[in-house]
């Protein structure tokens, strides 16, 4: 084996051009595969960093009647499940929350945290590195306030001081005692920097689905058994509380499904398929190179056989060479993967959950190693078998010249090129459709003007903002100060800016149009200042917009969007009609519709507009709001001035999530952009590899047929005849690849349907365009060897022979 290795190394050194092309080709193929595996690992494969994570499940509420899937759960229902279940070790509930953390240097900081049930960390199986967990008595309304810190916050804000335990910190104006510090790189559920007990009163609105819930299964209990256990409790609750629970059913999913893995699963598998295609093309290319070299080495193989080498021994020798190429390609591919992964991560949102780590880790390296071994054998075996078979004595008879290439070997090489072209066509059609989808999304009118708009969030925590008037007062002052800033055209606010990823929805009822129990419709509630609709240039279709005073006083007026108007008042005028929150029993619950405005894509550009229900701030005085500033010039330049305007009203009030509306708009398409770019990259690599493959086959054919070309020219063939002869070969192979690839692409693209937007999976122009592109590349790849063939001097060619 040592001598095999030594000889393989020498052979590779002897043909540096072949070696470099083969190694780089494989490095590209292995690099993109290692990158995608790393993504798959981060999202789907790597176990969650909890004890026995496969025993943890997420609970979700579904309401098929309303088309709601995967809603959170309500605390009263959760409390009942926790008390009555027999199949679970325990249940935990949690909700994300933001806290204003008073800082030592006087600058308040907004930190993301979570409220959790007291035994959450015990059920997860993660222990604090300092201090203790929460206690049951701390998870009750009115209990002493305690907090646990994330390791990073402890290091950053408290310098890793172990004396932090027992100290008091100010969170949103309230004093909390620090009781523990969690381990490094732990930010359950997403990127929490601190945790406080949930401390909810079980007597809550049973219809408020505001909590995430996980459960740990008892040993030996399956997810189906646990689901049946809790479903029976849910059925009882639905019978006892039909108003809130009718129509709702419980579902149980794994943590990966709960955490978006389900959504990403199909995309990831499609991407893995795409990179597998790239790798197959790379393997086909390298196999072609090695087949060409095997032809020139047939004499060497014949001598080895004559000296006593068995076929297995010759195959082993050649496989050692191909594995060496694969390992070199793998090593460089792993380096490529590091770079590729940085590009992928740069294209994803920065607020990823703590467990979603994109890295070239041990698993990825093992995967890469397995790829190297597999590809080394895959592309090396055919040339090795070819080289070790054949008529050995014929090779020896031909002496020092390269042996005959053989029809079988030529067929294999041609077949590989056809496969390359076919696979490239599939990838390029995929890339074309993805990129078109992305462009189509950019064509979607979001329904508002995103230019020159700065947004930032403010959260009014603490006792001083318990009253509605205090909150309204704060926001009124902030808007007044901001509006007065030079360069500001309009200042406005809303609970959740469009495309920011958050919405608040609520059931509503229509005056004079009762809905059956559990069937009331839902609308996205948009709590706004009067200026909001004008600031974002959302067009008025009917009626009027809010007057300034209506945002702050108790005016019971509302504005709806066109979708809601046409859905509930088709062909009629909704102005003057009244709607109310479902379940509101107060006397003046009705809001009169005063205007209808254009639709806005609130959730995603690719989702159809929801029912949008705009309410004056006074009607829904949220603590956390988004301030929007419409400016005359670059909005980002006003960031500091707007921050100062907020601090002028409350010096301890942090602003957070500062970004332009344009940035929000762009980040709402991150996934489509990323898919488009990745497919385009895979397609480009495939195109280059296919071109190289075609070139090498045609060039090799020309080299092999030099004598024949010389004879043809001696017999009177013109240069153009020789060029045609060579080009024909290239075009026949390409044509065969395009036909096979076209059929394959038609089938494969159907699986992409879910990722496409505004473009058919069988879009003919894309198919034709890609085929034309590949055809052009094939002609270019064939022209160089064709010209070389036409320059053959018949005298020299025949003399050499």
């Amino acid at each position: 084996m040592t001598s095999d290795l030594k000889f393989a190394l020498r052979t590779l050194r002897k043909n540096p051009a072949v070696t470099v092309v083969a190694v780089l080709t494989l490095a590209l193929g292995i690099g993109v595969n290692a990158t995608m595996y790393s993504c798959l690992n981060a999202l789907l494969l790597r176990p969650f960093p909890y004890r026995e994570p496969d025993r943890l499940v997420a609970l979700r509420d579904d309401n098929p009647t309303k088309g709601i899937n995967g809603a959170w759960v309500s605390y009263p229902n959760f409390a009942e499940w926790r008390a009555s279940s027999r199949s679970l070790i325990g249940l935990m509930a949690f909700a994300g929350n933001s806290f204003n953390l008073a800082a030592k240097d006087g600058v308040p900081e907004q930190v993301d945290g979570a409220q959790i049930t007291w035994d959450t960390f015990q059920l997860l199986g993660v222990q604090p590195v300092l201090g203790r967990n929460f206690r049951i008595e701390e998870d009750r309304p009115g209990a002493e306030r305690v907090a646990m810190l994330a390791y990073e916050l402890w290091q950053r804000r408290f310098d890793g001081d172990r004396g932090v335990l027992g100290k008091t910190i100010s969170l949103s104006g309230d004093a909390y005692t620090v009781v523990g510090v969690m381990p490094p790189d732990f930010g359950f559920p997403n990127r929490s920097a601190l945790w406080v007990p949930l401390a909810l009163d079980p007597v809550q609105d049973r219809g408020s689905h505001s909590l995430n819930a996980y459960a740990r299964l008892k040993p030996g209990v399956t997810i189906e058994q646990a689901h049946a256990d809790l479903a029976s409790i849910s059925r009882r609750l639905a019978a006892d509380f039909p108003e809130s629970n009718a129509g709702w059913t419980l579902s149980m999913v794994t943590l990966h499904e709960q955490s978006g893995g389900g959504d990403y699963r199909s995309v990831l598998y499609i991407m893995m398929g795409a990179v597998a295609f790239v790798l197959l093309i790379a393997c086909a290319n390298v196999a072609n190179l090695l087949l060409a070299r095997a032809t020139t080495r047939s004499r060497e193989m014949a001598i080895r056989a004559a000296l006593g080498a068995g076929r297995g021994r010759i195959i082993r020798q050649l496989l050692v060479e191909s594995l060496m190429i694969a390992m070199l390609g793998g090593a460089i591919g792993a380096l490529f993967a590091v770079g590729f992964l940085k590009l992928v991560v740069a294209g994803t949102p920065s607020d990823r959950p703590f467990w979603m780590v994109f890295a070239i880790d041990r698993d990825t390296l093992l995967y890469t190693l397995a790829l190297c071994l597999t590809t080394g054998i895959l592309f090396g075996l055919a040339p090795a078998i070819q080289a070790s078979s054949g008529a050995l004595h014929e090779s020896l008879k031909e002496g020092g010249r390269s042996g005959g290439s053989g029809a079988g070997r030529q067929r294999l090489r041609n077949g590989l090129v056809i496969v390359e072209v076919a696979l490239s066509l599939v990838l390029l059609v995929g890339a074309g459709l993805m990129v078109q989808s992305f462009l189509k999304i950019q064509d979607v009118d979001p329904g508002f003007d995103r230019s020159n708009v700065l947004t930032m969030r403010v959260s009014l925590a603490g006792k001083q903002y318990d009253s509605v008037s205090a909150r309204a007062g704060f926001y009124k002052q902030v808007l007044a100060r901001t509006s007065a800033l030079p360069g500001v055209q309009q200042a406005a606010m809303i609970n959740n800016a469009p495309l920011s990823g958050s919405t608040n929805s609520s059931d509503f009822e229509i005056d004079g149009h009762p809905f059956p129990v559990g069937r009331s419709p839902t609308a996205a509630v948009r709590s706004v200042s009067a200026s909001y609709l004008q600031a974002l240039r959302i067009p008025l279709r009917k009626g009027r917009l809010f007057a300034e005073h209506e945002a702050w006083d108790s005016s019971r007026v509302t504005v709806i969007n066109e979708t809601m108007a046409s859905r509930f008042w088709p062909g009629a005028d909704p102005i003057g009609r009244r709607i109310a929150f479902n379940g509101d029993t107060s006397a003046n619950k009705w809001y009169t519709i005063i205007g209808v405005v254009g639709d806005v894509h609130v959730r995603r550009l690719t989702s159809p507009p929801d029912n949008d229900w705009y309410l004056p701030y006074s009607a829904m005085p949220r603590r956390t709001m988004t301030i929007l500033v419409k400016t005359a010039a670059d909005p980002a330049a006003l960031t500091a001035a707007v921050r100062d305007a907020v601090r002028a009203v409350d010096a301890n009030m942090p602003v957070f999530s500062v970004r332009t509306m344009q940035a929000t708009y762009e980040s709402s398409m991150w996934d489509r952009r990323l898919y488009g770019w990745m497919f385009a990259a895979f397609g480009s690599i495939a195109l280059v590899l296919a071109a190289v493959g075609l070139y090498s086959v045609i060039a090799y054919m020309v080299a092999q047929r030099t004598r024949e070309i010389g004879v043809r020219m001696a017999l009177g063939a013109r240069r153009v005849d020789v060029v045609r002869l060579v080009l024909n070969r290239g075009l026949v192979l390409t044509g065969a690849g395009l036909v096979i690839g076209g059929i394959a692409a038609f089938a494969v693209m159907r699986t992409l349907k879910g990722l496409l937007f505004g473009v058919s999976s069988a879009e003919p122009l894309t198919f034709i365009g890609v085929a034309a592109l590949l055809g052009t590349v094939a002609i270019v790849a064939s022209v160089v060897p064709a010209r070389r063939a036409s320059a053959v001097d018949p005298a020299i060619a025949l003399r050499n022979e």
């Binding site: 001598s3 000889f7 020498r10 052979t11 002897k14 004499r299 060497e300 014949a302 001598i303 080895r304 056989a305 004559a306 000296l307 006593g308 080498a309 068995g310 076929r311 021994r313 008529a391 050995l392 004595h393 020896l396 008879k397 002496g399 020092g400």
Partner: protein, 220 residues
């Protein structure tokens, strides 16, 4: 040592078969030095390939050291080849990317001889064929005669019972050719059976028997 019975080899062509070897019946005893002669296209090299088990596409019976080669699997034929046969070619067929020493090592490595033993055997052969000074040179750095000398050394290094030589002096000038033939004579005298293909009556004169081939038939 060697017995061929009705060995035939043919290629299919449109409308029939073209025969390269016809009903070959030959016996070669241990220690013989046999020359196969005949015009170009007579089937001499093909016969040598059959004898050396490089060519498996033939019919008939072939016994080597009482082993029925015609019944053996390719794997067993390789084993038999390793045990009995050494090859010398007209074009030398040294492996270009291996040094003289490594070329000599190759047949031993294919016979799974241990590394330290191989080193000793190769050193002995280098000494015996007076090519110690060339051991680190590559074939392209040697003259034709030197290359053929190495090729003969490589053929005998695994102590084969039979040497098959295909026009071993075809590419050499007369002095070098003579030197190689003297070497074969010496090896034959030491007990090695030698079968050579040659056009040269002079070279045939080193042997003790000639087999003539014409159009695939043994004519004598």
């Amino acid at each position: 040592m060697i017995a061929l019975r009705n060995v035939e080899k043919s290629y299919p062509i449109a409308g029939g078969q073209v025969f390269v070897l016809r009903r070959i019946n030959i016996d070669v005893k241990a220690g013989e030095f046999v020359s196969i002669m005949g015009p170009s296209g007579a089937g001499k090299s093909t016969l040598l390939s059959v004898l050396g088990m490089l060519d498996h596409q033939w019919k008939g019976e072939y016994y080597l050291a009482d082993q029925p080669v015609h019944k053996l699997s390719p794997k067993d034929r390789v084993a038999l080849n390793k045990k009995y046969i050494g090859f010398v070619f007209q074009q030398y067929h040294l492996l270009d990317d291996l040094t003289v020493q490594e070329n000599l090592d190759i047949p031993l490595s294919y016979r799974d001889v241990k590394k330290d033993q191989r080193t000793a055997i190769v050193a002995d052969a280098l000494d015996r064929f007076h090519i110690v000074g060339k051991k680190d040179l590559y074939p392209r750095q040697l003259s034709g005669g030197q290359q053929q000398l190495v090729a003969v050394a490589r053929a005998v290094i695994a102590s084969p019972k039979i040497i098959l030589a295909d026009e071993p002096t075809g590419n050499l000038h007369s002095d070098q050719g003579r030197e190689i033939m003297e070497l074969f004579k010496k090896l034959n005298a030491e007990g090695t059976t030698i079968i050579q293909v040659t056009h040269s009556d002079v070279n045939a004169g080193y042997g003790n028997r000639v087999i003539n081939l014409r159009d695939g038939w043994v004519t004598e």
